[in-house]
Symmetry: D2
Amino acid sequence: MSMNTFGHLFRVTTWGESHGPALGATVDGCPPGIPVTADGIQQWLNKRKPGQSKHTTQRKEADEVEILSGVFEGVSTGTPIQLMIRNTDQRSRDYGDIIEKFRPGHADITYWQKYGVRDYRGGGRSSARETAARVAAGGVARSALGHLLPDVRITGYMVQMGELEIDRSRFDWDAIGRNDFWCPDPVAAEEFADHLDWLRKDDHNSVGAVIECVARGLPVGLGAPVYGKLDTDLAAAMMSINAVKGVEIGEGMNAARLTGRSNADEISMGPDGPVYSSNHSGGILGGISTGQDVVVRFAVKPTSSILSERRTITKSGEDTTIVTKGRHDPCVGIRAVPVGEAMMACVVLDHFLLHRGQVGGAGGVIG
Amino acid sequence: MSMNTFGHLFRVTTWGESHGPALGATVDGCPPGIPVTADGIQQWLNKRKPGQSKHTTQRKEADEVEILSGVFEGVSTGTPIQLMIRNTDQRSRDYGDIIEKFRPGHADITYWQKYGVRDYRGGGRSSARETAARVAAGGVARSALGHLLPDVRITGYMVQMGELEIDRSRFDWDAIGRNDFWCPDPVAAEEFADHLDWLRKDDHNSVGAVIECVARGLPVGLGAPVYGKLDTDLAAAMMSINAVKGVEIGEGMNAARLTGRSNADEISMGPDGPVYSSNHSGGILGGISTGQDVVVRFAVKPTSSILSERRTITKSGEDTTIVTKGRHDPCVGIRAVPVGEAMMACVVLDHFLLHRGQVGGAGGVIG
Amino acid sequence: MSMNTFGHLFRVTTWGESHGPALGATVDGCPPGIPVTADGIQQWLNKRKPGQSKHTTQRKEADEVEILSGVFEGVSTGTPIQLMIRNTDQRSRDYGDIIEKFRPGHADITYWQKYGVRDYRGGGRSSARETAARVAAGGVARSALGHLLPDVRITGYMVQMGELEIDRSRFDWDAIGRNDFWCPDPVAAEEFADHLDWLRKDDHNSVGAVIECVARGLPVGLGAPVYGKLDTDLAAAMMSINAVKGVEIGEGMNAARLTGRSNADEISMGPDGPVYSSNHSGGILGGISTGQDVVVRFAVKPTSSILSERRTITKSGEDTTIVTKGRHDPCVGIRAVPVGEAMMACVVLDHFLLHRGQVGGAGGVIG
Amino acid sequence: MSMNTFGHLFRVTTWGESHGPALGATVDGCPPGIPVTADGIQQWLNKRKPGQSKHTTQRKEADEVEILSGVFEGVSTGTPIQLMIRNTDQRSRDYGDIIEKFRPGHADITYWQKYGVRDYRGGGRSSARETAARVAAGGVARSALGHLLPDVRITGYMVQMGELEIDRSRFDWDAIGRNDFWCPDPVAAEEFADHLDWLRKDDHNSVGAVIECVARGLPVGLGAPVYGKLDTDLAAAMMSINAVKGVEIGEGMNAARLTGRSNADEISMGPDGPVYSSNHSGGILGGISTGQDVVVRFAVKPTSSILSERRTITKSGEDTTIVTKGRHDPCVGIRAVPVGEAMMACVVLDHFLLHRGQVGGAGGVIG
């Protein structure tokens, strides 16, 4: 990861600001012959698109992707794929307050102090709008995975909002797409909805969330120890998403509470190879995939842009207060779900290519 | 991060196995004119060295570093610094069990399945011994920071072991160096000691831990959005350490529980610039340092190498059991403290150089 | 350099095909506060633009650049700058011959054999049209250099076409912009014109050329030994340009003919520091700039697309012949001049940032 | 290429100074299961070793390589391979003159001006001794190529010394190993010997050379356009070698003299695929290997360290003169032959891995 590029062989460079003419992703290193179409990518962008329910920002963005290069007659050519999304709803308005004042909890102040120049319109480059480009790139990665590793399925969902958590005994993969929260527990989904309604309308507040992403059907052997481990790259990928403050693999922070006896996943021999008695490891040992589900979780902080008044300062150094109006997500965690999935798809594909490059078809056989 | 190298401008490549002749780090991109001596690096290696208390592995390693290049007349020349540590206590013994059996919770099985060849002696490359090289590289980074950013202080400590947590009201920076656990709460340190004694001697078990690392005195502006964010690189750096399963910045996973009103750190103008009412952000906004303390936490899983019998399989695919004898840490979290510090020092220095490269002395003034 | 990205800190990723909707460059790592405007970049694109004289391809391309990101109120923000150029003259025509036949001397056959899919329209990604993106990125680099190193001047010119070479005794910097060949020798420029007229009209042929690029006013100390040397990166930059087959620094291949006594540039002390009696080294010693003019030369092969019949094969493996019609440059070397300048500007800026990052203001004083 | 590391997937980081305790190479990304032994690497180091004939420096270095990591039971494990070579003949002597004076044509002055500190002993990091590490790394690359691409043969040889060139009609592959110059023309080899004797003994001078390296038996499809082209990486690899001032692929600088009709290699269909009528391209089209011999040439400048007096300055800025005594190569081109081969082996292997990573087994079929 280097500035605005991530990945080793499947390399994604994103560009663009919230209120500039466009944003996008340059996807380099895609294998050739992969079906890539605007429609195919659009389905993933639509999952993240704002304005789809009352629980997300009311900004209207078509988020229509244009493929400008790297695809010929419907398949990738192996050359860079440029994915561009025009910004359409850059509502012409008075940015007055934000020009001079720094929003607490935002990158406004650090961008200013670092660069000495700042695109204040809607957060500029630090806006969550940047994640649309990630989702577009993830769409290409998913298509390549579908071609190269057809058993792989990557699914994200919300497991916690504020103090409310899902009940894992009610976990239902099919429920995920049926509510506004990508929540696998339909009961929790209703609780989330009620809570968010109250927060948004009555409390003028926002709330954090925890998202879990799972990759099922992964082959054994992905990950390049010791600084390009699969978990290292997943951690970096998730932590690079706006508002993310924590990342966990498998047991995550809870691993600290466990003992060696309870934490180690015991192994036995199954008909198709090793079988594990549990998955505390989150599908990764020593940075390399075990073939179990790879499980990553990340916490998204509550949106700082709220209608409540907060103390801050101006560029000229005066104390003041600010109320952030505008169209903001009361829980950005919702729209972080497809973003997390996209990042996971990119990381998994990248590591598949890396592994194929270094090791080829070899590898150790058991049994 | 790419395989065995991490960093953008200050780049560290580590090499070596647990029971090979030596291990080390190649440090490239160090600024010239930095005082670098074996003694200076040794002080940090001694913090991590095994066999220093009954709470860590009884393997005896001098962990003496030799500087093979890049230093002339006591200062760095700007060329690669090779730091080599000879393995001295490679106890000649029968590896029989481990050659054929995979230890549950270890990288034994994934290394074998990925590469088809595996240095089984003591975990080979996946051993925690690799972290000695990180600490040595961190010693160089610390020296450079002392030269370039003399106000920066990087300190790690243990805040949790198993279910036992420190009481933040008893936090004492000076206590950290006075107990075997790098624990800032002297009362908790004693509890940790008692608990670990029991686990090791009576329960033949091991336990996880949470380590917190803080960088104080950092300048504003470090971090390269959006994929080279300071928090992204810290997350990757910590997740790349053996046995780490979760990483948090500031509020970390707890951010999911907070509301926008409670989470945003309010800003006021102080005599020397902006002052924050709190530090939920962990000193990073939009991936860029705010000038507050940068706070990162990571969870270390319990050692899988325990004296209790566990089910596993052999290379030939037969079900069996294993008891891992040998000299293992009942809580690897203890020795992870100097490793976390070292990684943080490398990341901070790297971002200082990156920032100086791209932005130079410029940046926005407030007031 | 990695696939479609070059540079260390100032990183340029180009994308796009000859006959796709657009092509462009993503410029990452540009220092903030640099004046960047479409007009400013356009002046360099206009130097390279086709159809400006009878000596270049008659394809008409406006080559108008749009800035889609990274610039706010006329200056760079430090975030990625997306430069897009729409392809306008994608003449709808019958590609029939080229679809099935491989043009000798072209990348047609290798793209097909490598990727199994190929955008045959106008050479796709392997077309010299890709270099427009380099020139646009170079425009940004030049603006940054103008800001950070105002004494630097980067100038390219043609010194040889076929067997015709310039006479160095007639070298005139001011002549360069006054002829169709960017030739510093006005007499040679006329010879070039006559020769090219004959080749194109009568001989239905094309011809190679040698381009020289000079960076004047460079500071001492740019270059990162040993694999990021200034000359290494210049060699890579120039060799990556379409049709380039050789690169020289200073004496270049002629260095083989010299003796140590004649080749070493003697040093004496001048009023402002070291003065060299000659510049056989081309301004670089040990990979680091000396402060003298940095001189790089590269040879451009003759266009393979000519009206003469050549033997080749079809995709189905049959022997056949081909005559390449279409609008091709009889001497692509002409339009390679601004491309070489652009690459040099990018490399020089990148190394300035790298040097500032690692070394800062330090460095050894003489006298 | 970034500072002291080169390669994309097969990454080599070299370290060490001429007169430090040791130098070496960290080889990351080597495929697992490759036979790697000290003896196997030693055969290549012995080709480069000084003091083997009267035509090279009389410095005696055993150049014995130690493998410190990454190899287990005789094969690579997929983890970093550390290759260390102890410096043994660091003749204790008075460096007085070189400490204060800058040798013309050397990196002495630029290292000092860039870094403000300089290991003056034998050129420090800028010494040609660094190339021993490249040759060691190349030995690993050759072993991997022997395993993965057994048909590939990489051979370097001298084709020019000063004004003397070989006669291609006398080219004999078997002659290369039979003379002190790795010269394929036995008659030229004798002329080289006579000329160098005179230069060294009577003229107290040195001379440049041209080395050609050829990779035979390469598969089609290696090279990653447009900034990781096979020729781009070869050019960078060769230009990064000490004293190299020019690099050519195929026709090289001579391509400027040719016409499109004479330069394009015509294609016909042979029993095993495309056959080319000639190899002006040097086996690379559009940055991708054609399957023909890949031909690269580079010019090595004459050693600047000669017994003749040259004008220079001191660190304190005074004009003076210098005579460089010591044990220097009158023609460093001789020992550059195995270095060029090693760099080519690394680049070819790296591109094979890159190609396998991105494209796998796919690719377009002809016929």
